[in-house]
Amino acid sequence: MAAPDMDTGPEAGRPVFFDFTAPQLWAFGAMVAFIAIAPFFLYPVFLMKVLCFALFACAFNLLIGYAGLLSFGHAAYFGMGGYITAHTAKVWGLSPELAILLGGVVGAGLGLVIGSLAIRRTGIYFAMITLAMAQMVYFFFLQAPFTGGEDGIQQVPRGALFGVIDLRADLAMYWVVAAVFLLGFIAVHRIVHSPFGQILKAIRENEPRTISLGYRTDDYKLIAFVLSAGLAGVAGGTKSLVFGIATLTDAFWGMSGEVVLMTLVGGLGTIFGPVVGAAVIITMQNYLAEFGAWVTVIQGCIFVACVLAFRAGVVGMIAQRLRVRL
């Protein structure tokens, strides 16, 4: 997907620290500072939800923003992570960190299966295949005995981190979620700026040329897919612990559309875009809940407006204005 490419801008900037350019470092610092003080004046559960979705959107952005692959079935991995974490935490009694990790691993495994099919095609076909496969996964969740059908897995205990730190208090859980998010965020950033990430971008720009340079592009795409699915699984798992539930909503194709919307609103191919996009959409959802029936219509309008007028997204536009890479 033609993400606005800031790599060649006049002030593209060179990395100053851990692959962050100076403006990125400022933005990252601001983000960390915000995460650190936010729970004292914002509702922690709301913030945790934003962070989970931000991680989900970052994972999704890894595929679309850097490899140019639009997956329309990312809810499958998000949902899978949620169910696995919820099940292992509730039934097996795993500690939260293991449960989340397992959610990520199984999500990645699912990504491996679906990804190896989907990467056979690109563009629109890729989108439709991921959508159709995600629908099959949805059927599976509906049927599988461990998911509790339409009731979902309820009353999932948050447990104690490493068996020691009790997470039942919202604030304790919040720091765990914040840590998971920041780790995931840095991981995505690291992947994107590694040589591996450079090849992904090369594939996005011109796949035949990348092949002619001797890269097995399918392998690269598949690895990116698996990484993205795994991170989505971690995000879904974390969310299921925050709310103590794992339900079909997280695996429904509407959720796949939502994560596309978040990334689009924030800015495709920008490292901070998905975070901002997730914050915007979740805030909107929360406030529209009291607004009544117009939620889907308003979401649709944002979609249309973004595609027609703000393709760079919020962060993309700010970056363009400031002439920096964010």
């Binding site: 339409e150 009731d151 979902g152 309820q154 009544g292 700010i318």
Partner: protein, 413 residues
């Protein structure tokens, strides 16, 4: 120019965090009660709950004459969008931030059970009307919860047993292939056999995404069963009934029993299509003088296009009973402790215009009769929403799952 832009953007960025700021709950006046109607305004349950539920709750408040008592009762409405996380976040914010005392309605089992946990943690009151799951009064029962209107056990019991008594003794099931459909089918089949009927066959259709039921209906037809039981819900049931009409099942005297079919669905089907279908509800506007009167009031308050069915009536009945108890124990006490309120609700017999007299059992199950209806033909219907004729009734003490079978561990009162 460019510098200014940069500054403007940075200023905007700095201001951004104020979005989503929590509003501090203002000191709640002691004479104020807040009722939160948590419902589906934008999804498949919109018609069986949604706006009409809110109207029903407001009508109950109005009928109770709160103004004359010097009370201030606010009804707030939220759309959970069929997402449990949105439902949970909204419920928590309502309780923690806005001082909501009672949450009502909540269709969609997944959301309903999630909210059940939140309300229990916060010790408020939860009056569920439109969720179908028996879990709310079973393993996941809570001392803060009343499940008012109906559940799957009751539907199975009413439609299964009563229809066999009315002569429909051989059955074929068309079942949505997921837990809800399976349990509805199994429960109904048990009642059919218990009442001396036979089950000739079953076919399971994928859920969701089945639009065409013709092949299942043909299979049902070739089984020569007298009753085709539809163990599905919502659009699936509507499509099944519509196509059963097309294939002439009702014309040939086969009873098509929607195990979860509401008056609103019948309205969507039209009598020409739905005539002869059978279903169970605990409320119908044309049962007696009281139900007609309360329906007139609810319709006049803003439900002209979508008349109340049992879920909406449940919101009315539950709010009415809640307000009575609040008046009885005093507002301050009612706001302080949700378990106390629900215990008082269980202790006090209920009596409202929608359901008449009834009781609430120790597991939170509201008990009232359940009616078996057959959908009228267009010729029999005399006006708008004149859809049902009653063909059977199950008394309140038999209509619901026995306390002992539910696995609820709350102490009996």
């Amino acid at each position: 120019m460019e510098k200014i832009d940069r500054r403007a953007i940075l200023a905007a960025l700095a201001a951004a965090p104020s979005i989503g700021m929590t509003r501090r709950a203002g000191a709640q006046a002691a004479n104020t009660l807040k009722i939160g109607v948590l419902t589906d305004m934008s999804g498949p349950f919109r018609d069986i709950s949604g706006p009409t539920s809110a109207v029903a709750a407001r009508t109950a408040v109005q009928d109770f004459g709160v103004a004359a008592r010097g009370w201030n009762v606010e009804v707030v409405v939220g759309d959970h969008q069929n997402r449990p996380d949105v439902g949970v976040t909204l419920a928590r914010q309502w309780i923690d931030r806005d001082g909501v005392d009672v949450i009502i309605d909540v269709p969609n089992s997944g959301v309903a059970l999630a909210v059940n946990t939140v309300v229990r943690e916060r010790n408020k009151v939860y009056l569920n009307s439109t969720a179908a799951t028996v879990e709310l009064t079973g393993a996941q029962c809570s001392p803060n919860t009343v499940h008012w209107t109906y559940d799957t056990w009751m539907l199975a019991r009413s439609t299964g047993a009563a229809l066999v008594r009315a002569g429909g003794d051989s059955w074929f099931f068309i079942t949505a292939d997921y837990a809800f459909g399976h349990s509805l089918e199994t429960q109904t089949a048990n009642f059919v056999r218990g009442a001396g009927g036979r089950v000739l066959g079953t076919v399971r259709h994928p859920f969701p995404g089945t639009t065409d039921f013709s092949s299942f209906l043909v299979q049902a037809q070739s089984s020569r069963a007298k009753v085709v039981g539809l163990a599905n819900a919502g659009v699936d049931t509507i499509n099944s009934v519509k196509q059963a009409g097309e294939f002439g099942l009702m014309r040939r005297g086969v009873k098509v029993a929607g195990l979860l079919l509401f008056a609103n669905d019948v309205n969507g089907l039209g009598l020409a299509t739905a005539q002869g279908a059978v279903c169970s509800e605990t409320f119908y506007w044309d049962l007696n003088e009281r139900t007609r009167a309360v329906t007139r009031r609810i319709v006049a308050n803003g439900a002209q296009n979508n008349w109340p069915s049992m879920g909406h009536a449940g919101c009315y009945g539950a709010v009415t009973h809640y307000l009575k108890v609040a008046a009885d124990m005093g507002l301050a006490a009612a706001k302080a402790n949700g378990v106390d309120v629900v215990n008082r609700m269980k202790a006090m017999p209920t009596d409202d215009d929608a359901f008449g007299q009834g009781t609430i059992r120790s597991d939170g199950r509201k008990l009232h009769p359940c009616y078996l209806f057959e959908v009228k033909t267009p010729a029999e219907s005399r006006g708008p929403w004149d859809y049902y004729k009653q063909i059977g009734v199950t008394p309140g003490n038999e209509a619901f799952r026995p306390l002992a079978d539910g696995g609820c561990t709350l102490p009996t009162t």
